[in-house]
Amino acid sequence: MSQTTAWVVVITTSVACFSIKLLGYYVPAGWLAHPRLQRVNALVPISLLSALVVAEGLVSKTSVVIDHRLAGLGVALALLFAKAPFPVVVLGAAVTSAVVYHLH
């Protein structure tokens, strides 16, 4: 990633996300009240976060791969089932992945 790209992403993301927040304070309530829009909007974070788990944990460039990250993700999943708090989940995944990475 070039520095130019990095800056473009930082600035554009910030402007876009702030504009969306502001939109909620300026548009008439009816505009965003369409039931279909509300239903899809409620599911968008779930789909995106799920895809991000895959893209970050199971993908290298454009192929699905199994490596040290999956071990970390497995531990994260187990910790979530055990109702561990967020920082513990992230740390558990990092430590597991690092250990597997160094064993290879």
Partner: protein, 223 residues
């Protein structure tokens, strides 16, 4: 002042949420550095974008080798829920001019959530809940982002310290509390399978954005 006049229960709710969520900023700071952003750029995300899932998405797409358009698109789509929060908060906080910009900036999951949780305590408590949580998360989130970014910078190779697994684990941790019904778990698993299937056919980062199609399909009809 905001803090001294607030109802004590509201203050306690706001602080515990703000501090807990704020500490997640460490994970974001580290993710930003692991993706190749500078400490300054990573901190600017938390100051200016200030909506956690979108920030993670933007750096996540770049870390996956995706393009700027995919990164911004994923972050923007994740941020659309904030507009719906604003819609609910606008009649409550009733602000005009510059203060409306401040209110909009701190309109996120947590400030809306705490505000709505104060409903039995009345609109005054709800307003305090909104502002205290919003500004509290802003403060802690930014401090912890800086700590995470500086820490990751000092560590070096992300894979050697497991940072490359910390990022998907963070996404899983953000996803987990949202999976409150069987239907939502089906949507999540379907999105994961969809992302895996389309990965070989699309440019890096695009499968993340394309996964919104799964949300559209499942959300199209009333259940």
């Amino acid at each position: 002042m905001l803090v001294t006049r607030a109802p004590r229960d509201t203050l306690r709710d706001a602080f515990s949420v703000a501090f807990t969520v704020g500490t997640y900023g460490v994970a974001f700071g580290a993710a930003g550095i692991a993706a190749g952003f500078s400490v300054l750029q990573t901190c600017l995300f938390s100051l200016l974008t200030f909506t956690g899932a979108s920030q993670f998405a933007a750096v996540g797409v770049m870390a996956a080798g995706g393009g700027a358009i995919s990164a911004v698109a994923a972050a923007t789509m994740l941020g659309t829920r904030n507009a719906l929060y604003g819609l609910q908060m606008a009649p409550l906080v009733k602000v005009k001019g510059v203060r409306r910009f401040f209110a909009a900036h701190v309109t996120i999951d947590e400030s809306t959530g705490v505000a709505l949780a104060q409903t039995p305590r009345g609109p005054r408590a709800m307003r305090y809940g909104f502002w205290l949580t919003g500004t509290g998360v802003f403060l802690f989130w930014n401090v912890f982002t800086l700590i995470g970014a500086l820490g990751a910078k000092a560590l070096g190779n992300p894979a050697a310290w497991g940072l490359d697994a910390a990022v998907p684990a963070a996404f899983l941790g953000l996803l987990w509390p949202r999976l409150t019904s069987t239907f939502l778990r089906v949507v999540a698993v379907s999105s994961m399978v969809f992302a895996m299937i389309v990965t070989p056919w699309l440019s890096a980062g695009v499968p993340i954005v394309a996964s919104v199609l799964v949300a559209v399909v499942f959300g199209w009809r009333e259940r």
